[in-house]
């Protein structure tokens, strides 16, 4: 029972990281219909920025995570405006855009490799103090990661539900042509959505690297599958669904790890298949942001 409670505690940390990344991923898809495989490469870039800010510039690790968020936001907007938007304006198929995103992912990862090399990098975190709650145990950093996830979700919820920008995002996601006819600058809204989701992507990359302690230039690509699984389990294009998906996948993976470590990787895949089989639109189908066609 103690191990189960401990796994639940660890699962909450995993869920927090997956939630930050998953919501960013699904927000991009929800607003622009782009299944952005390069998301993992942006996470990796952000992880390296967080590391260099902390280990080379000597800044506090959380300042490093802010740098990572800014990097994610800027890089995502550059990729969306500079690469995806021209393809979408030309009416490229979703398949073509996915292939383009693979190309971007490889280009970004190769660039990181050329600059930073292949050797793994390690955060010098020292001996971290722990906080215990029954059998559950977290480091101070992990508590901040969970708090960061909650704050990110609350802020995103507030933006989507209570601001004009949020309404515009939902309108663009639901019916872009109608939104445009109503005077919404869909291009601007899409760019802001990509900046927001890119910031979440950057935060996810930064905190993932912190949690892993040692990481290399494949960290984002390796973790992308879990993020996509959370997004799909929750219902692609639905931020609240991604939060739910992250919770389900994060906790169940850690509990599965008690049975056999290899199941940690199997659980997201199994849940993904199961949900696609039983509820193709995800656990939380019919949410706010969802669409199936690409828009610029």
């Amino acid at each position: 029972m103690n191990q189960l409670m401990a796994a639940l505690g660890f699962g909450l940390v995993s869920s927090a990281i997956v939630a930050i990344g998953g919501v960013g991923f699904t927000l991009q898809f929800g607003v622009s219909g782009i299944f952005n495989v390069a998301y993992g490469a942006v996470m990796t870039t952000a992880a390296f920025v967080a590391y260099f800010a902390n280990s080379i510039l000597g800044l506090n690790i959380w300042v490093g995570v802010i740098f990572a968020a800014a990097t994610g936001a800027v890089l995502s907007v550059v990729i969306e405006r500079g690469v995806y938007a021209p393809f979408i304006r030309r009416g490229s198929s979703i398949f073509s855009v996915i292939m383009v995103s693979f190309g971007i992912a490889i280009a970004v990862q190769s660039t990181i490799q050329a600059i930073a090399g292949l050797s793994p990098l390690t955060f010098n975190l020292g001996q971290q103090s722990s906080v215990r709650l029954g059998a559950m145990s977290w480091t101070n950093n992990e508590i901040i990661i969970m708090a960061l996830a909650i704050v990110s979700m609350v802020v995103l919820h507030a933006i989507l539900r209570s601001t004009k920008l949020g309404k515009a995002m939902r309108a663009v996601a639901d019916e872009p042509e109608l939104g445009r006819a109503c005077g919404i600058d869909t291009g601007r809204v899409t760019t802001i959505a990509w900046a927001l989701s890119g910031a979440l992507c950057g935060i996810a990359g930064g905190v993932l690297a912190l949690e892993t302690v040692t990481f290399a230039n494949d960290i984002g690509a390796n973790y992308l599958f879990v993020i996509i699984a959370a997004a799909v389990v929750g219902g692609v294009g639905q931020p609240y669904g991604a939060m739910l998906g992250a919770l389900v996948i994060g906790v169940s993976s850690q509990i599965a790890g008690i049975v056999a470590p290899v199941f940690v990787e199997v659980v997201p895949l199994a849940l993904l298949v199961l949900v696609l089989l039983v509820r193709p639109d995800g656990l939380r189908s019919g949410g706010a942001l969802r669409k199936e066609t690409a828009t610029a």
């Binding site: 191990q3 390690t122 722990s130 960290i219 390796n222 008690i258 940690v264």
Partner: protein, 376 residues
């Protein structure tokens, strides 16, 4: 090339093989069969009087049939367990197989008092190769396995796995993972075990600079020095005529910065096997591989009565000219080929010593001990 060039220097300075000078040539086989097969083909078709090839190692299964068909001796450092019972008469494995390392780890664990250890290996094929032999040998030596965990490499957290491991109360950990996995796992072990660490033993080939750097950063140098050790194939003993001949040949070979190779088992082993090959040719009075390959086991093995132990090529040639039987014991010790032409080799355990990476072995594990612990 340092091994071949130094052997070439030693052989040619003693007059060559039956009056013929030897020469080294190189083809880059890479690590991909698609590159290795054309490279092997090119060497076999373009080099006249080719008597032996060192390697390729990582892609041995792709090239070994071609080299066998050409009737050329292959001196391989491949760790692939498929060659544990090789029937290729031209194939000689000159360094121990990867799975043999598992038996060495078991011996060192028991010797250092780990009787109830946890096994933690990642799901990489290279890491998993050692596990069956380790399990077999560890149990045979009286050890009980606290838990055996196969980790999915490069996960962001292994806390559940660490909790499960700690619940079994192991007295140490025997492990082989990549640096990232090790760093994450060990830092969480330190955290969840309230700042206390456990003895950790690994295959020393796994303790790369990256591995040591990652671990030293996360758990600290003092923990590394106090708790970490690894087993590796025993390198050359820096003393004796064979070692002196090896280092002299390296210095005379024109190799850049030869001293960097003095303690390198992956240089001294092929050097020894080439010297043994040249002695086999001398004993066979033939440089045809189909003939002299059968003499490899005659000029090597454990020194015994009725055979003159020689440590250098020229001493071996001189003894053979007198009609004596010889046993060559090289810089890396005796070459003891079993019936599958696998050299079992001895192992040694090393501690982590940042200040002195070349520190002496903590414990030497003789090849005979390991041979008795291999799975039937």
């Amino acid at each position: 090339m340092a091994a071949c060039q130094s052997a070439q220097t030693a052989i040619n300075s003693a007059g060559g093989v039956r009056g013929q000078k030897v020469a080294c040539t190189r083809e880059d086989a890479g690590s991909d069969p698609a590159d290795a097969v054309p490279a092997a083909d090119k060497m076999l078709s373009s080099v006249k009087n080719l008597v032996a090839m060192i390697g390729p190692n990582a892609v041995a299964p792709a090239t070994e049939p071609i080299i066998k068909k050409a009737g050329v001796v292959m001196l391989s450092e491949s760790g692939d367990p498929r060659y544990d019972q090789s029937t290729d008469p031209f194939f000689f494995r000159i360094t121990p197989a990867d799975d043999v390392a598992g038996a060495a780890m078991a011996v060192w664990a028991i010797h250092s008092g780990l009787k109830h250890a946890a096994f933690v290996f990642d799901n990489d094929l290279g890491a998993q190769t050692s596990v069956p032999t380790l399990t077999y040998a560890y149990k045979k030596l009286g050890g009980t396995i606290a838990t055996s965990a196969t980790l999915v490499a490069d996960q962001p957290s292994y806390k559940s796995e660490v909790e499960s491991l700690l619940a079994t109360h192991p007295d140490g950990i025997i492990t082989e993972t990549d640096p990232q996995t090790a760093s994450t796992f060990m830092s969480e072990l330190l955290q969840l075990n309230n700042g206390h660490f456990l003895p950790v033993q690994t295959d020393a080939t796994n303790m790369t600079t990256q591995y040591e750097h990652a671990l030293a950063t996360t758990i600290g140098n003092s923990n590394m020095q106090k708790y970490f050790s690894g087993t590796d194939i025993a390198g050359p003993t820096p003393a004796g005529p064979a070692y002196l001949a090896f280092t002299a040949a390296l210095q005379g070979s024109g190799t850049n910065n030869p001293s960097q190779f003095y303690g390198q088992v992956y240089v001294s082993s092929p050097y020894d096997s080439l010297i043994a090959s040249a002695l086999a040719m001398t004993a066979a009075k033939s440089s045809k591989p189909a003939v002299w390959k059968d003499y490899m086991t005659q000029v090597t093995g454990t020194p015994h009565a009725g055979s003159v132990t020689v440590n250098t090529y020229d001493a071996g040639v001189a003894a053979l000219k007198k009609g004596q039987h010889i046993t060559y014991v090289g810089a890396n010790g005796a070459l003891e080929f079993n019936k599958y032409q696998n050299n079992s080799g001895s192992f040694a355990a090393f501690g982590y010593n940042q200040a002195n990476p070349e520190a002496a072995a903590l414990y030497v594990i003789p090849s005979g001990t390991i041979a008795g612990l291999m799975m039937p």
